[in-house]
C-alpha cells in the first residue's frame, strides 16, 4: 500500500510539472490522498496555514502579471496552475523531508561507496537544530542591543559575522567529536540520558549471548527479592538468520512481537525491520513499573533509541526515578561510544560479554553494586 502511495505521489509531482492543466487537478487530489496514506503528520505539517497563504500569494502575483500581458482568462488559468503545482510540490517535499534521517543516508551512501558523503550529509541534518539555536541567540542579542528597526538593520552585517563564527565553532566541535569517538559520532544527535545511579553497559558482538546473560542476571536478582523492571528483546531466528525480535517484560513475563524483517527492504526508522506498536507499548508498560530500589534492565538500546525514538522516552523516564537500585543497558559494540557520550550518569562501567566469557553474570552483578544484593 505504502509503495503504491509513494509511486502515486511521485507520479503526481511529474504530472503536475509537465502534464496539461486537466491532469494537474487530478494530480493534486491524488498527491494529497497518497501523502495522507504515507504520512498524515507530514501532510499536516506541509499544509500549514502559512504555507497555504504563501502559495495563494505567489499564484495571485503570477496570475496578475499574466492577466496584464495576455488577458484575464489566461491570468486565471496560469494562476490556478501555479497554485496546483506549488500545492503538490509542498506535499511532496513534506513527505520527503520526514522520510530521511542520518542513519538512512549513511546506509544509502555506504551502498555506493561514498560513506564520507553520508557522514557529511548526516552531520548537516543533525546540526540544523544547533545552528537554528545559535541563529536565534545571535538575533536575540542583536535585538536587545539595538533600538528600533533601523538600528537592527545596521547591525545585520555584524549579526552575519557572529553567526559565521558560531558555525565555525560548531564545525570545530564536530571535528573534535569525530577525532575522539570516530567519524560515526557525526551522525548521532545529542540525546542526554540522565541517570542518578551507576549504569552498567553490557555489550558484545551479535549473537554473543548478551540477552541470555542479562536474563540470567535478572533471574538471579529476582531470586534474592530484588525488584527487577524492564525488558529483554530475544531475537527470532529462521534458518540461522535473524528475522525479528520479541519483547519480554521481565517483571510479568508477558511477551509481544516487536520487530520483523521486512521482505521489501522498506522497514521503519530507516532499518530493515518493521516495528509493532504492541512491542513498544509493552516496553513502556514494563519501564513504567520503575520505583525506588528497582533495578532497571534494558535489552537493548539501538540506533533508533540513540536518535531519541523507539523506547527512548520511556527509558529516560525510568532512569530519572530517584533512588534507583541500579541500571543495566545493553548495546552493540559499535554504539558504546555514542551511548557513553550521551549518558549523564553518576558512574558507568562497560562489560563485554565476549571478553568476560563465563564470568559475565558475576561481573555484572558485582558492577551493579552491593546495595542490590543486600536488598
Amino acid at each position: 500500500m505504502n509503495r503504491l502511495a509513494g509511486f502515486l505521489l511521485a507520479t503526481s509531482v511529474v504530472a503536475v510539472l509537465f502534464g496539461p492543466p486537466l491532469y494537474a487537478v487530478w494530480a493534486a487530489a491524488i498527491a494529497i490522498v497518497a501523502a495522507w496514506i504515507l504520512d498524515p503528520p507530514a501532510l499536516r505539517a506541509g499544509l500549514r496555514v502559512g504555507a497555504i497563504l504563501a502559495i495563494v500569494f505567489a499564484a495571485s502575483i503570477t496570475a496578475g502579471v499574466v492577466a496584464w500581458a495576455a488577458g484575464p482568462q489566461r491570468g486565471i488559468e496560469t494562476g490556478g496552475m501555479v497554485m496546483l503545482r506549488l500545492l503538490v510540490l509542498t506535499v511532496g517535499a513534506a513527505v520527503l523531508v520526514r522520510s530521511v534521517n542520518a542513519e538512512t543516508l549513511l546506509r544509502m551512501t555506504r551502498k555506493i561507496g561514498m560513506e564520507r558523503l553520508g557522514l557529511v550529509l548526516g552531520l548537516a541534518l543533525n546540526s540544523l537544530p544547533r545552528l537554528a539555536e545559535a541563529a536565534a541567540d545571535v538575533w536575540t542579542a542583536s535585538r536587545v542591543r539595538s533600538d528600533g528597526a533601523v538600528a537592527r538593520l545596521r547591525r545585520l552585517p555584524g549579526v552575519g559575522e557572529v553567526l559565521l563564527s558560531h558555525t565555525a565553532r560548531i564545525a570545530e566541535e564536530a571535528a573534535a567529536a569525530a577525532s575522539l569517538r570516530g567519524h560515526s559520532a557525526l551522525t548521532r544527535p545529542g540525546n542526554t540520558l540522565r541517570s542518578p545511579v551507576r549504569v552498567v553497559v553490557v555489550t558484545g558482538p551479535s549473537n554473543s549471548g548478551k540477552t541470555e546473560v542479562v536474563t540470567t542476571v535478572a533471574g538471579q536478582l529476582q531470586s534474592v527479592g530484588v525488584d527487577v523492571v524492564g525488558f529483554v528483546q530475544p531475537g527470532e531466528l529462521l534458518e540461522g538468520k535473524k528475522v525479528g525480535f520479541r519483547l519480554r517484560d521481565l517483571a510479568s513475563g508477558q511477551e509481544a512481537p516487536l520487530a520483523s524483517l521486512s521482505e521489501r527492504d522498506d522497514g521503519d526508522f530507516g532499518t530493515r525491520f518493521q516495528f509493532s506498536d504492541g512491542g513498544f507499548r509493552l516496553g513502556r508498560e514494563a519501564l513504567s513499573r520503575t520505583a525506588p530500589d528497582s533495578v532497571v534492565i534494558i535489552d537493548e538500546l539501538g540506533p533508533i533509541e540513540l536518535r531519541g525514538q523507539g523506547h527512548m522516552p520511556a527509558v529516560r523516564k525510568a532512569l530519572a526515578v530517584a533512588d534507583l537500585g541500579g541500571a543495566m543497558i545493553v548495546v552493540r559494540r559499535s554504539l558504546v561510544p555514542s551511548l557513553l557520550a550521551e549518558l549523564d550518569a553518576s558512574d558507568a562501567v562497560v562489560i563485554d560479554v565476549e571478553s568476560e566469557g563465563g564470568r559475565s553474570v558475576d561481573v555484572i552483578i558485582d558492577a551493579l553494586g552491593a546495595r542490590i544484593l543486600v536488598g
Partner: protein
C-alpha cells in the same frame, strides 16, 4: 585519524547556506521580492568565501554546495530547478575561481561575478518549469515594456537579459570582495591568522 575539519566545516557552512536558502530563500521567492536572486546569491557568497578562507582546501566549496542542495531539496523551493542550479553554479564558480587564483581576493571577485551573473538565466528556467511558457512570455514582455518606459524602446529581450546579467555580475564581484573582508573579520574573531 585524518583531520576531519575540512569535512565538518564544509558540512556546517553548507548547512548554514542550505538553511538560509530553505527559509529566507523560499520566503523571498514566494513573496516575489525584488532582487531576491541577488540577496540569496550574496548570502551564498558569504558562506562559501568564509568557508574557503577558514579551510583553504580544494573541494570544500563544492562539498558545501552539495550539502546546501541536499537541504534545499527537502523544502518547497527545492523542487524547482532554478535555485538548485543556482546553488550548483555558485559553488562551482567559487571553487574554480578560488582554486585557480590560489585562494586570493581576486578569486572571490571573479567567482562572485560568475555566480550572480547567471541569476537571470536561472530565473527563466525556474519560471518555465513552475509557471509554464505563458508566464515566461509575459515576463519577457514585461521586461521590454519596462525598458520602453525608461526610454529604451525596441530592445531585444536577449540584450536586456545580458545587460541585467552584467549588472548583477558586477554586484556579485563587489559582493565577493565584501564577503572576503567579512571572512577576514570572522577569522580574527576566531583567533586565526587572516
Amino acid at each position: 585519524m585524518k583531520d576531519a575539519r575540512p569535512w565538518t566545516y564544509a558540512a556546517l557552512f553548507g548547512t548554514l547556506w542550505g538553511a538560509i536558502e530553505a527559509t529566507l530563500g523560499t520566503a523571498v521567492h514566494l513573496g516575489k521580492l525584488p532582487l531576491r536572486g541577488t540577496i540569496m546569491g550574496l548570502a551564498g557568497l558569504l558562506c562559501l568565501i568564509c568557508l574557503r578562507r577558514l579551510q583553504p582546501r580544494a573541494g570544500v566549496c563544492l562539498l558545501a554546495g552539495v550539502v546546501a542542495v541536499f537541504l534545499k531539496i527537502f523544502t518547497l523551493g527545492g523542487l524547482y530547478p532554478g535555485p538548485i542550479i543556482g546553488i550548483c553554479i555558485q559553488a562551482l564558480a567559487l571553487e574554480v575561481a578560488l582554486t585557480g587564483t590560489g585562494g586570493r581576493a581576486i578569486g572571490a571577485a571573479i567567482g562572485g561575478f560568475v555566480a550572480l551573473a547567471t541569476n537571470p538565466l536561472q530565473k527563466l528556467v525556474t519560471m518555465w518549469v513552475v509557471t509554464g511558457t505563458e508566464a515566461v512570455r509575459s515576463y519577457l514582455r514585461l521586461l521590454q515594456e519596462s525598458a520602453a518606459a525608461v526610454g529604451l524602446e525596441g530592445l531585444n529581450p536577449t540584450v536586456i537579459i545580458t545587460t541585467v546579467a552584467t549588472a548583477t555580475g558586477a554586484v556579485g564581484a563587489a559582493g565577493g570582495l565584501w564577503a572576503w573582508w567579512v571572512a577576514g573579520r570572522v577569522m580574527r574573531r576566531l583567533g586565526k591568522r587572516s
